[in-house]
Subunit: 418 residues, 2 copies
């Protein structure tokens, strides 16, 4: 996230931490160069459109401020072209909300980025969950969760039509007479009352539809993701649970008529590595000494809707809400020895989430955990180099080009030359 | 404009023309480097959110396509950071519509760009005039002209509050404890039903409010511009008329309580220069040989609402509409010898607008017309170098810093440290 405190409030104060330089363009271009040198698939930028506003009372702004808990933040679209200019293969995932962005304007923005990055762009589709985002964009309150996913489904269909269906594949010829051939660009949602008549003003880009990321975990979220996603983020869990989730995802994908192998999965993990296990654990403790625990509780409040400022310090917490909260919090400590039997009180929640948020931690040497890139490469479980230049090709790895796969619901809107 | 055919349809086919590379990032970074080497104040990107759709019948897409008459086009915000990364002083003016963009999302985008460019960003405020833009963003039809300007006025006040009033000037301190000090960030439009509650999620940038460009020419447009603009584009006219317009602007500005000298004016001019006058005129004729005249008439249709496809080739045109149309068209030929007495028929309209659109042309050697930058510099009428690093400082040239001037209506929303 383009903020000093994404999942580690207060860490911007660490001497080696550069996140408070996020407002400088050099921060982004340096980061992109480092990631491409390490052959990372992509750089993904999360986003929120407001402040967390749950902890210390509804609407509270202040709790996030000292640690910079995802506030302040800036627009994730704008550093992309500066990074694209200094890289060739690294992909860029950008978060944008189907609840608050206009579909035409967003489709145009992604098409522009797909051109300027030469096909290296992914869209992390979110429906947004902060009350403050709703009041920022002018709504009285949030659209209910399941309705947001229904909106998102219609929204994606509308944007597929703009990207895949408005320009025939052979519309742009740039010969000695014509840039675009008349008759090969059309309205895609001709109904007077529908949301975006088109045609998209932007000519077809390499991928047309950006590669689609999604992280839906609720029941409506999963139904949406298994229909539209090409890559899913799975929230922090242990390997056994991840396996079950992946199997469920593939099963649901098949039920939706998709090829289950065209949905890639990313299990999030927070890695702290050093030469020895001991050094790595010391590093973790050192990081913790910079953590802003109020910031942790602010983020917990926004994610769960639970304001822990109303809970006493010595109260044992019982997570009776959605299972995801229990799972989110308990998974954080799975790999930190010595914490298994500590009681879940407010201080522990704050501390477990402080470095890396609600994701399992892998802390240790690269020889103990499989967490060092050179070590992973030596073991043959991580590629030596990018296999292609576009996001879709590098993530799918199936040699089938930069366009949507045929099983994807967006592909049926494609306007072929033949 | 980020398009192959902004004000010269068909010219993308000229061997030295690079506009069809507008979808490549190198096109933009090369352009920015050239402009900064020449000490140009800024690069300004116009925009439209649809196709012209008047010429050859309401809703027509095809007429624009061969010449690429402002179609296709891409989002003007996205190449900015790539250009900012290769320059230090050049300013970037970006067009965005108050009718179609959400004020919170737009304010955040400009604040982000002001950070990433280190204060080199300007907003060209437009209310948009294409029917196709309305149907692209989901409206049934356009908001009427004068109402659009009323909306724009409220819109700007809302964004001033986000930029100037949400974060106290000393809110961000980044000391060993606090990134931002609690109590120094606030809601700015607390009414439940108003359009953007804030606070802006983005910390204060160098200029806070981007430098404001405007080109309003109608009566409601001028009232808006003389209230909000810091720099006005004046549409193509002869020097005498420009002088009168500038005097009117300054008079209206005073009536609105502003210092008339804080509104800068730019008289648009289309320059074709070569070693001798004869060579320059030959160059113009060569350019004309690449022009797509259907594209010219497409743009004329969109600007005026008049579909010249319904007019016979030998019909003498009488411009009985708003004075601006007459002025727009006739001004184009003011400096082209031999065209004064040619009748205004369809072919002449198309030809006069074909190279550079509705702006007066200066065609000749730099010694005849004051049109070559080295010659202008030799005469002491153009600066030798940038006077500062931010847009507002370079345009105002008054040594009074990067923030809004005190006479500007946005300055009263400023939340000062004292």
């Amino acid at each position: 996230m383009s903020t000093p405190g994404h999942l580690a409030s207060g860490l911007w104060r660490h001497p080696r931490n550069r996140t408070s330089q996020y407002i400088d363009i050099e921060y982004w271009t340096d980061l992109a160069r480092i990631l491409e040198a390490g052959k990372f698939h992509g750089l993904f930028i999360a986003d929120v459109l407001g402040h967390y506003g749950v902890y210390r009372g509804a609407g509270n702004i202040d709790a996030a401020l000292p640690g910079a808990a995802q506030f302040p933040n800036t627009d994730p679209f704008l550093p992309i072209t500066a990074m694209a200019a200094v890289t060739k293969k690294l992909s860029f995932g950008v978060t944008a909300s189907t609840t608050y962005e206009n579909p035409f304007l967003l489709a145009r923005r992604f098409a522009t980025l797909d051109h300027l990055t030469k096909g290296r762009i992914a869209w992390n589709v979110v429906t947004s969950h902060l009350e403050s985002a709703a009041t920022n964009v002018g709504l009285e309150t949030q659209v209910p969760h399941d309705e947001r996913y229904k909106m998102a489904d219609e929204y994606l269909i509308a944007t597929y039509k703009l990207w895949e269906g408005a320009w025939r594949d052979d519309a742009v010829i740039k010969d000695d007479k014509q840039y675009t051939v008349p008759g090969r660009v059309r309205y895609v949602n001709p109904g007077k009352y529908f949301k975006t008549a088109g045609p998209l003003t932007t000519e077809p880009s390499i991928q047309r539809t950006p590669f689609i990321f999604q992280a839906g975990a609720s029941s409506s979220g999963k139904a949406f993701a298994t229909k539209h996603a090409e890559c899913m983020f799975l929230i922090g869990m242990d390997p056994k649970t991840v396996r079950k989730t992946v199997e469920d995802v593939r099963k649901q994908a098949v039920e939706q008529g998709r090829n289950p192998n065209t949905i890639k999965t990313i299990a999030r993990i927070n890695i702290i590595v050093d030469d020895t296990d001991e050094k790595a654990h010391d590093k973790y403790q050192e990081y913790l000494s910079y953590a802003d625990l109020e910031g942790s509780l602010t983020l917990f409040g926004g994610w769960t809707g639970t304001d822990l400022s109303t809970i006493n310090d010595d109260e044992d917490l019982k997570f009776t809400g959605p299972g995801a909260i229990q799972s989110m919090v308990s998974s954080c400590s799975a790999t930190v020895p010595g914490t298994e039997n500590v009681k879940w009180r407010k201080a522990r929640v704050a501390r477990e989430l402080a470095i890396g948020g609600p994701h399992p931690k892998a802390i240790g040497s690269p020889y103990h955990y499989q967490v060092g890139l050179p070590e992973l490469r030596a073991r043959g479980v991580f590629w030596d180099d990018y296999s292609a230049s576009t996001t879709r090709e590098n993530y799918q790895g199936d040699g089938r080009g930069p366009r949507l796969r045929d099983d994807h619901p967006g592909s049926k809107y494609r306007w072929r030359a033949d």
